[in-house]
Amino acid sequence: MIDNLPMIVVGALFVMGLYGIMFKRNIIKIAIAVSVVESSTNLFLIVLGYRTGGSIPVYTLAGEFKKMVLPTPQALTLTAIVIGLATTALLLSLIMLLYKHYKTLDVYEIRRLRG
């Protein structure tokens, strides 16, 4: 049970982010919710590679250790973080432009394209 605790955190974060995207009306909150979902995914990858009592997967100044955590999920997470940074920056820029054009941050009013 205690080993699955990180997974529960992942699930909770994911659901919270999903709730934010679906039910929040402010688009800045939606952007934050997207970031929360991103964090939950990153946490999921890190948890996948974790082994109890493992050390960091680099040899430099590692000291004595018996086993390492898996390095690949951490590499994946780094890449996902970089991508998430790009997406978040773009999302916020788009929100700035949207506010300039529409004078509102309400997602229910940003709907000129429909039908």
């Binding site: 995207i21 688009i27 939606i30 952007a31 997207v34 979902v37 991103e38 995914t41 999921f44 990858l45 996948l48 690949t72 999920p73 994946l76 890449t79 996902a80 991508i83 790009a86 997406t87 773009l90 999302l91 788009l94 929100i95 432009l97 949207l98 054009h101 529409y102 940003i110 709907r111 000129r112 394209l113």
Partner: protein, 520 residues
């Protein structure tokens, strides 16, 4: 060892280099020359890649390895480096994408005269090209995710390129949120498969896969995310917004980018899961996606009055044909008898429809773009009587509209015929829906033709002139491809389509190419 073994890497790095260099090119002439050069070079490389796959079978390439085919170093059970793997289906998609990108790029050049930061446009375009080709040549799931995200980020930028139009920003924002979320779902799926099998290579996973609960969860995530990215109904809502608001030359290219996600879906369904996934649920899900996309896409298209938005709805509808054709192939995957009876024909139809759709839908988007270039609007209520002023555009529109409506003898007819006849065997209802869709497609393009090109000239449309030469060249690339595919469907089917369909079905050869070379 010929230099051509490096083709799977070169086809990614040449457009990538082009993208990075073009940021620095602020002189318009130099930038245009560089853009055209890179696009042409990519098209040539894509052709060489396709020919090499035809000659040598599935190509592999180990990025940074001691040798290009050294997939399993020192007796390991799994490949550890990033491996590019191009089979005939991938090469077919690469060729389609490169031709479409060439036409779209040539068309876009004159539009760049109107903006002050055209080098950013060129850079994003080439980045999107790289990402699309990367999706189609990669043999690694995480790498697929990375290219998916690069493609998404580049297309957000391109869709919102007219940043002083509110609608473009709105379309880009919606697409960004949906697509980011969906890509994260895909990443969770990748994580699950990595957690179970400890590898990210598609062939290695396919070799070891035993479909249990976790694999099914991953499959759900993959299918949902890819269905959204390729615009299957009911996840299609972003597509008319995005295609309708993107700059004129771009939707033509976004069509093939969407098809790259379609490729991802089929690669996962056929090459990773394949026969390990028992039952026909997955195939029926894809077929139902196809049916819904076909019908609802075209029904929504009939009532649109903005040309690019109408064409975007048609794009959804045509995606439905591909989903249905290849989904029927998946339905027949586990029984050789069904495969020879209808499955292979349906897959041929679906795959032939991919290249056909890229060509004629691209051409339609380009003609809508040239309408916009000449008149400043694509609202069909404001257009009228342009056939006298723009003869080339009108002719090419007529060719493309006839092809998409499936009128004989154009290429659209051939692929649709294959889909009709094979789907009729499974259930007549499928064929009926496909035919009704085809009729409604014809109806809505008659509407565009009538209100855009025929009739008396409107007052403000009398001084309109034909678009510049490079735009006509861009359009005629696609037009010539349509005519060639129409005149030689037999050649195209046996040389382009059949190897692709055969490689897609043959999961063993996909695994063999990576896992079989063993110790060296």
């Amino acid at each position: 060892m010929s230099w051509q073994v490096h083709l799977p890497a070169l086809i990614l790095t040449i457009p990538l280099l082009g993208a990075f260099v073009s940021i620095a090119l602020t002189k318009p002439r130099l930038r245009n020359f560089w853009f055209t050069f890179i696009l042409a070079a990519t098209a040539v490389l894509a052709f060489l890649l396709w020919r090499r796959v035809g000659a040598y079978g599935t190509l592999i390439y180990v990025m940074g390895g001691q040798s290009w085919n050294f997939t399993l170093p020192s007796g390991m059970a799994f490949p550890i480096r990033i491996i590019m793997e191009v089979d005939a289906f991938g090469a077919f998609m690469v060729l389609t994408g490169a031709i479409s990108a060439l036409a779209s790029g040539l068309f876009s050049i004159r539009f760049l005269d109107r903006v002050h930061d055209g080098n950013k446009f060129v850079s994003l375009f080439l980045l999107l090209l790289t990402a699309m080709l990367g999706l189609e040549v990669t043999g690694d799931l995480f790498n697929f995710f990375v290219f998916l995200e690069i493609a998404s980020v580049a297309s957000y930028g391109l869709i919102a390129f007219w940043r002083d139009t509110p609608e473009a920003i709105e379309a880009s924002f919606k697409y960004t949120v949906l697509s980011t979320f969906v890509a994260l779902l895909f990443l969770v799926g990748v994580g699950i498969l990595y957690g179970v099998y400890g590898t990210l290579n598609m062939a290695a996973i396919a070799k070891n896969i035993q479909v249990g609960f976790l694999e099914k969860v991953a499959l759900v995530l993959f299918i949902a995310s890819m269905a959204m990215k390729c615009g299957a109904v009911p996840l299609h809502m972003w597509e008319p917004d995005a295609y309708g608001q993107a700059p004129a030359g771009i939707p033509c290219f976004l069509v093939v980018v969407g098809q790259a996600s379609l490729y991802g879906m089929f690669r996962i369904a056929f090459s990773i899961y394949g026969q390990a996934f028992h039952g026909s649920v997955l195939a029926w899900i894809i077929v139902v996606f196809g049916l819904l996309s076909m019908f609802i896409g075209v029904v929504m298209a009939v009532i649109q009055k903005e040309a690019k938005r109408l064409m975007a709805y048609h794009c959804i509808s045509q995606t439905g044909y591909m989903l249905m054709g290849i989904g029927l192939g998946l339905l027949a995957l586990s029984s050789p008898q069904a495969m020879s009876e209808f499955g292979f024909t349906a897959m041929k139809g679906g795959i032939f429809h991919i290249i056909n759709n890229a060509m004629y839908k691209g051409l339609l988007f380009l003609t809508a773009g040239s309408l916009f270039y000449a008149t400043g609007t694509t609202d069909l209520n404001k257009l009228g009587g342009l056939s006298r002023n723009m003869p080339y555009t009108t002719a090419m529109f007529a060719v493309a509209a006839a092809a998409i409506a499936g009128l004989p003898p154009f290429n659209g007819f051939v692929s649709k015929l294959l889909i009709y006849e094979s789907s009729f065997v499974v259930h007549p209802f499928l064929a009926v829906v496909a035919m009704v869709t085809s009729i409604l497609t014809l109806a809505s393009f008659v509407k565009v033709f009538q209100s855009g090109f025929l009739g008396p000239s409107k007052e403000n449309m009398t001084t309109i002139r034909e678009v510049p030469l490079t735009m006509i060249i861009g359009m005629s690339v696609l037009c010539l491809m349509i005519l060639a595919l129409s005149l030689m469907p037999n050649w195209a089917l046996s040389n382009l389509v059949e190897p692709a369909a055969r490689d897609l079905v043959n999961q063993a050869s996909y695994i063999q190419a990576v896992m079989g070379s063993g110790l060296q």
